[in-house]
Structure formats: structure tokens, C-alpha cells
């Protein structure tokens, strides 16, 4: 970046400026992006870190920050806010203990396999962090959901992220494979299937509230036939969560679909034909030729969706406002509500924990899945 070339003196001032600009053009081109990211990402991150370590108090026309250490975090893990963030734990029975042991053994086996095959310090540390997070989350899942406790916002978010992205991927892949067949009106289906991605998530949430109305929605007569006129999906935890997932899936399946379809269309034709001539059936072609060809793209779109899915707020906020109780509240919504109640420190702490979980998950997914699928390219 630093060049020590002296400027020739015979050029006039204007030309000297032009030359200086040209010599530093790389830095000048990158600088706006760096400055913007500094101002809107790094600076806020540091401020947030400080906020999450302090108590915020409002005074008339002013506010005061008091440094309180890790109190905001400990509150979320073991204090008054624990039921909100992690949920309430029930003691482990034999089933939970067995499942937990199985989970630990699987993780240890995974680590051991890596250590045996080829040990690299940074790779091992990365795997250790990922395994630690997975073990912690598994413990929370067992203690709250499996043991019959109360599910907190952390698990709600992970439910939306993992179940949602998984279902969207399967649906998107299925639709892409269907659409890649020799059929008429292919481009029409493609345009139609793409539409939901462009509808604003807030709109999607309201549309699904309209559709799911048991009194005046379009499916009301149908539900009356089955005798469920008094029941509402919004009053039960799992049906409300399901609604959020349905809305999210409707919106984001097109994203998976369109990229996977492009990937399927891009694979070389001669390979397919050769396999066909050799007598491979459609399923074999899919498993042995199409799938390996599109795996890197598939892994990458899943990664992109993972990154975005951790930020979910519009859907639960509009569909259920986080209810019933806290059943559909995502971490972002949780943080937003804390901010509205002037608990800025708590809000920042929740945001930071979301940042940790999503970063470790996404980076692990990139290192262990996306990289692995690209190795054979």
C-alpha cells in the first residue's frame, strides 16, 4: 500500500494529483467500503459490546451507563431472564441422560476421527468450539423440550433456522428437479415459483394471518367441516411456531429453487447422456451425476440461508407478536422487546449471544460442509 516513488517535478500540479490518485487507486477504491463498514459494523459492534457490559439508566434529558461486568449475560444464563433466553429446565430422566450421552459420544467420535486422520491445531480448535456449542445446545434441547420444560427464545430461533432451512432446501431441490425435466411451460413455472421471494416478509406474515383465520379466512368452510371452528392456531405454542415456519418456507423456498435449478441446468449434457446410454436410470443419474455436480452450490445456498435465517424477526413479530407467551419469539425479536423496555444492556447482550451462535454455526458450516463439497471440484 505504501509506495515510496518520488514524483517527478517537471509535471504540473494537476498531473501530479492525477498520478498520485492513480498510484493509490487501489486504496482509494477500497476505502469507501472500509469506512462504511467501520462506521456501521465495527464501531457499533464495539459500542454494543460495551453496552452489553453496562446498565443503562435514563435521566431527564440524559442517560447514564454503569459498568456492571458480565451481569447482563449471567442474567440470561442463570438469572431472572433464563426462562426467556434458554427456557426452564426439567431434571434429566433416564431418556434424557441416554440421549445426552449419545450426543457426547458422537461429538467425541467426530473429534477423535479428525485427530486420527490428520491433526492441525487450528482445525482442531475450530472443531472443539463447534463441538462445545453443539453439546451446549443439545443439553438445552434435552433439558427444555425433551424433558418437558419451557422452550426459550434461543431454541425458537434455532428451530426456525435449522428446520426452516432444511425444509426449504428439500422443497427447493424437489421443485428444481421437477422443473429441470423436459416439460412445457418451464419458464412460466420458473417465473411463478420465484415470486414469493419478492413479497415483503411483513406482507407475507399478514397474508398468512388472513389465510389462517378460522372464522373468515378462505379455509374456514373446510375447517368447519372438520369441526375446528373454535380452535385457533395462534393460541398453541407448536401450531403458532408451525405458522411462522410455513410463512418463512413459502417466502424462501424460491431462493433455493432458483439457484439449484440454475445449477442443475449448468451441468454438462454429455455426462448425462453417457450415463443414460450406459443404462443408468433417472435415480442413479440423480445420485451419481447430478448431485455431486450441484453439491457445492447446494452447500453455499444453504449457508446463505443459514446466515439470513438467524436474523428472523418480521414473521414472528407480525404473525404472533412472539406469542402465545414467548413461544414464537426469536432472538432478534427478544432483543427488540428488551430495547423497547429500555433494557439496553440486556438487549445488547442478547444481540451479542445471537452473534456468537450464528457466527460459530455459519463458520463451522462453511469449514466442515461447504469446503468439503468443494474439495472434489
Amino acid at each position: 500500500m505504501v509506495a515510496n516513488v518520488t514524483v517527478p517535478n517537471e509535471t504540473d500540479r494537476q498531473e501530479r494529483v492525477a498520478q498520485w490518485v492513480d498510484r493509490h487507486s487501489g486504496s482509494i477504491m477500497v476505502l469507501p467500503a472500509v469506512l462504511i463498514l467501520l462506521a456501521f459494523a465495527i464501531f457499533p459492534l464495539i459500542v454494543s459490546a460495551y453496552l452489553s457490559l453496562s446498565r443503562f439508566a435514563l435521566f431527564a434529558g440524559s442517560f447514564k451507563l454503569t459498568f456492571i461486568g458480565l451481569y447482563n449475560y449471567s442474567r440470561l444464563f442463570v438469572g431472572a431472564q433464563q426462562y426467556h433466553f434458554l427456557g426452564t429446565f426439567k431434571p434429566f430422566g433416564p431418556l434424557e441422560l441416554t440421549l445426552f450421552a449419545v450426543g457426547i459420544v458422537v461429538l467425541l467420535a467426530w473429534l477423535a476421527r479428525y485427530a486420527m486422520r490428520g491433526f492441525a491445531l487450528f482445525g482442531f480448535i475450530g472443531r472443539l468450539i463447534a463441538a462445545g456449542l453443539a453439546a451446549g445446545l443439545w443439553y438445552v434441547v434435552l433439558g427444555t423440550v425433551v424433558a418437558g420444560g419451557f422452550q426459550g427464545t434461543l431454541l425458537n430461533t434455532l428451530l426456525y433456522v435449522f428446520v426452516g432451512v432444511f425444509v426449504q432446501f428439500l422443497l427447493g431441490l424437489g421443485l428444481a428437479l421437477l422443473c429441470a425435466q423436459p416439460i412445457r411451460a418451464r419458464s412460466w413455472f420458473r417465473v411463478i415459483f420465484f415470486i414469493p421471494m419478492m413479497v415483503t416478509p411483513v406482507g407475507v406474515a399478514y397474508i398468512f394471518r388472513m389465510l389462517a383465520d378460522m372464522q373468515k379466512g378462505p379455509f374456514a368452510p373446510l375447517s368447519h367441516i372438520f369441526g375446528v371452528s373454535q380452535w385457533s392456531w395462534a393460541t398453541e405454542a407448536w401450531s403458532a411456531r408451525l405458522m411462522v415456519l410455513v410463512g418463512d418456507t413459502w417466502q424462501w423456498t424460491p431462493f433455493m429453487f432458483i439457484v439449484l435449478l440454475a445449477a442443475i441446468e449448468n451441468q454438462p449434457r454429455d455426462q448425462l447422456e453417457a450415463a443414460h446410454l450406459d443404462g443408468a436410470n433417472r435415480f442413479q443419474i440423480l445420485r451419481d451425476i447430478t448431485w455431486p455436480a450441484i453439491a457445492p452450490v447446494a452447500a453455499t445456498v444453504v449457508l446463505i440461508r443459514l446466515i439470513e435465517a438467524f436474523k428472523i424477526i418480521d414473521m414472528p413479530n407480525v404473525l404472533t407478536a412472539g406469542g402465545p407467551g414467548l413461544a414464537t419469539e426469536s432472538l432478534t425479536l427478544h432483543s427488540f422487546i428488551a430495547w423497547r423496555t429500555q433494557d439496553l444492556g440486556g438487549s445488547a447482550a442478547i444481540g451479542y449471544l445471537l452473534l456468537f451462535v450464528s457466527t460459530i454455526t455459519c463458520v463451522s458450516f462453511f469449514n466442515f460442509v461447504v469446503r468439503a463439497t468443494r474439495r472434489y471440484q
Partner: protein, 350 residues
């Protein structure tokens, strides 16, 4: 065999009538059945909003009516109210201005950075970055905890930064290359906006820019910048080097090469990126919720605010949703192929 470029859609080229290209009747029926079923799932919610926007309150509340002119008489009351009586147009204008401006800015800044990262070698000293971050943190703590005036803190920090750079900074050789800078830029997308939005809120409050379009535009630009860098980088990397080199030998500056040679060559990729970022900016909800109130309110916030104390007024809300999604669907309908290709390029190299 021929040298002529084949302009037909890829699918048609791939599936010339041959043995692989015919479906047996049963799979054919199943395929069409599934595709139609999914089309229904996609289209019915949209149909329902459109129909609801043509109803009046009693027709919504009295139970489901499905087809205009058949089981209810459509009316434009809701449209009339939302477009001409209620103050809806201003948020719409806000949305257009904010989404378009921020998308163009993100595209320009991101493409410049991506191009430089592809074509020019960078060596940023690790020590400089570390000392910068430490000083930034020190400034924040000094201002927040010890009530030091921020101008003084920033001035001292800059002086200290230059001092450290010129003394110990040069001794440490460890440096970050292009890939690291690129990864850092792209990784910013992983950050959930909720982490950053509180300080951004306070920042704009201090600058007296809260609830203005400038606040939204600059924030959206920053949020979408990583996507632009991530997608456009691969388009630039695909340009043959000789074109640019010959222009440089002829005396063109790097900026000139970028604007007159590189940019035009990747315009279809830029179109895809533009569309994708435009959709994201147009639909953004969380940041608008924090940073706008009355003046700079955007459409998603307006839509979500329709849930009044008397319950949601579906007929009005439907109008808002329809006018919000129609322009994007029209534009993106034309460009969806480019979007697919753009995402694909990014996904393969990503």
C-alpha cells in the same frame, strides 16, 4: 460444432428431443400435477390479498367470499381510501428513494472495492488494524464511561494511531492479503443487524439525522455492501486481463479502466446484483423500525403498523401489500434469469 453462439435457453439446448428427453406418461402426469400444486400454493395467497383489497369491511368480516362479481361485488373503496385519503403515498415515495439510492450506492462502492480486491494486491499491516481497533475501543470507553468530549478523544486517538504506526507499527511484518480483506467484508453479513442497530440509533440521534432518509440510505448501503462485494467479485475475476492491461498501456488510469472497460463488461451480473439488493432494501423491516418514525417511514413499517387496536383492517392492508409487491414482481419477472445466474456465480466461487 458451429462457432455461432447458441442463444436459445440452456434447457432447450440440453433437452433436444432425444432418448433422455421424453417422459413416460405416468411421471409426466405426476410432474405436472406437482408443479401445478406448487403454483397454486404460490399464487393463492397472492390472489387472496388482491381479492381482499377489493372488499369492504362487511365482506371481509362476514366470512370468506372468493370470487369478485360472483359471490360479492368488488369495490375500490379501500384503494380510494389508501391512495387518496390516507397519507400512504409519502411512505411509498420514501421507500422508492431509500431503496433505489441505497442500492445504487452499495453497488458503486461495493463494485469498486470488489474490483480493487480482484485486480490489485493489498498488504495491510496487522499491527495497524489491531492498534486501530484498540484505539477505537478506547475512544468509545472514554466517551461513554468518563464523559470525555468525543472530539478530543478522536483527536488524541488519531495522534496516537499515527504515532504507533510510525514507531512500533513498522516492526511487525504480519499483514493481511486480499482474501482476508474480502472475507472480512463478506463476513459482515453474518452479523445480525440487531447487534449494530442500537449504536447506529444513538449515532444518528447525535447527528440529528434520526428519522431522515439519509439515515436509512446510509445504513442500508452498509448492510447490503457485503452482498455486492461477494457477488460482483466473481464477475470481475472473469474478465480477461489483456483487455484491461492494453488499456493501461495506452495510459488509462485504473479508475478509467474500471468505469469504461470493467463495468460495461459485467453489466448483466450488475443487473442481477442490483435486483437482489433492491429487493432486500425494499423489504427491509428491522432497521426501518428503529431508525424511522414519521418522516422517513417506509412501506414495510407502514404495513406492519396497520394492526390497529380494533384488529387488523384486512381490506386496507391488502391494498398496501399489493402496491408494495407489484413493482418488484414486474421488474424481477424480467430479470429472474439474471438473478439466478448471478447467485450461481457467487455460489460456485463464493
Amino acid at each position: 460444432m458451429t462457432a455461432m453462439p447458441d442463444d436459445r435457453p440452456l434447457m432447450r439446448r440440453l433437452f433436444e428431443p432425444r432418448s433422455l428427453d421424453t417422459l413416460a406418461p405416468v411421471p409426466k402426469i405426476a410432474t405436472y400435477g406437482l408443479l401445478f400444486a406448487w403454483s397454486l400454493i404460490v399464487l393463492f395467497p397472492l390472489y387472496w390479498v388482491l381479492v381482499t383489497s377489493l372488499k369492504i369491511q362487511i365482506e371481509v368480516d362476514a366470512g370468506p367470499y372468493y370470487i369478485p362479481f360472483v359471490d360479492f361485488t368488488p369495490s375500490l373503496d379501500a384503494w380510494n381510501f389508501m391512495l387518496f385519503q390516507n397519507n400512504t403515498l409519502w411512505p411509498y415515495v420514501n421507500s422508492v428513494i431509500v431503496a433505489l439510492t441505497s442500492t445504487l450506492l452499495a453497488l458503486l462502492i461495493g463494485a469498486l472495492a470488489a474490483y480493487a480486491l480482484v485486480r490489485i494486491r493489498f498488504q495491510v499491516k496487522l499491527a495497524a488494524i489491531l492498534s486501530f481497533i484498540v484505539l477505537l475501543a478506547a475512544v468509545i470507553v472514554a466517551v461513554a464511561a468518563f464523559a470525555v468530549p468525543w472530539q478530543a478523544a478522536v483527536a488524541v486517538a488519531i495522534a496516537l494511531f499515527l504515532l504507533t504506526l510510525s514507531t512500533i507499527g513498522r516492526r511487525f511484518k504480519a499483514a493481511l492479503g486480499n482474501n482476508d480483506i474480502e472475507f472480512w467484508m463478506i463476513s459482515n453479513r453474518i452479523m445480525p443487524p440487531i447487534v449494530a442497530v442500537l449504536p447506529i440509533y444513538v449515532m444518528f440521534q447525535h447527528l440529528k439525522l434520526l428519522d431522515t432518509q439519509i439515515a436509512l440510505i446510509s445504513t442500508y448501503t452498509a448492510v447490503n455492501l457485503p452482498i455486492v462485494v461477494w457477488l460482483t467479485r466473481d464477475f470481475f475475476a472473469g474478465i480477461p486481463l489483456d483487455l484491461e492491461e492494453s488499456a493501461e498501456i495506452d495510459g488509462a488510469s485504473k479508475f478509467r479502466v474500471f468505469f469504461t472497460i470493467a463495468l460495461p463488461l459485467v453489466r448483466s451480473g450488475l443487473a442481477a446484483t442490483f435486483m437482489l439488493v433492491l429487493i432486500l432494501a425494499w423489504n427491509e423491516y428491522l432497521l426501518a423500525l428503529f431508525l424511522s418514525n414519521a418522516n422517513a417511514q417506509t412501506m414495510p413499517v407502514l404495513v406492519s403498523a396497520q394492526n390497529t387496536t380494533r384488529g387488523p383492517q384486512w381490506w386496507y392492508m391488502s391494498v398496501l401489500i399489493v402496491i408494495m409487491i407489484v413493482p418488484v414482481i414486474v421488474i424481477a419477472g424480467f430479470l429472474q434469469k439474471h438473478i439466478a445466474r448471478g447467485l450461481l456465480v457467487g455460489a460456485v466461487k463464493g
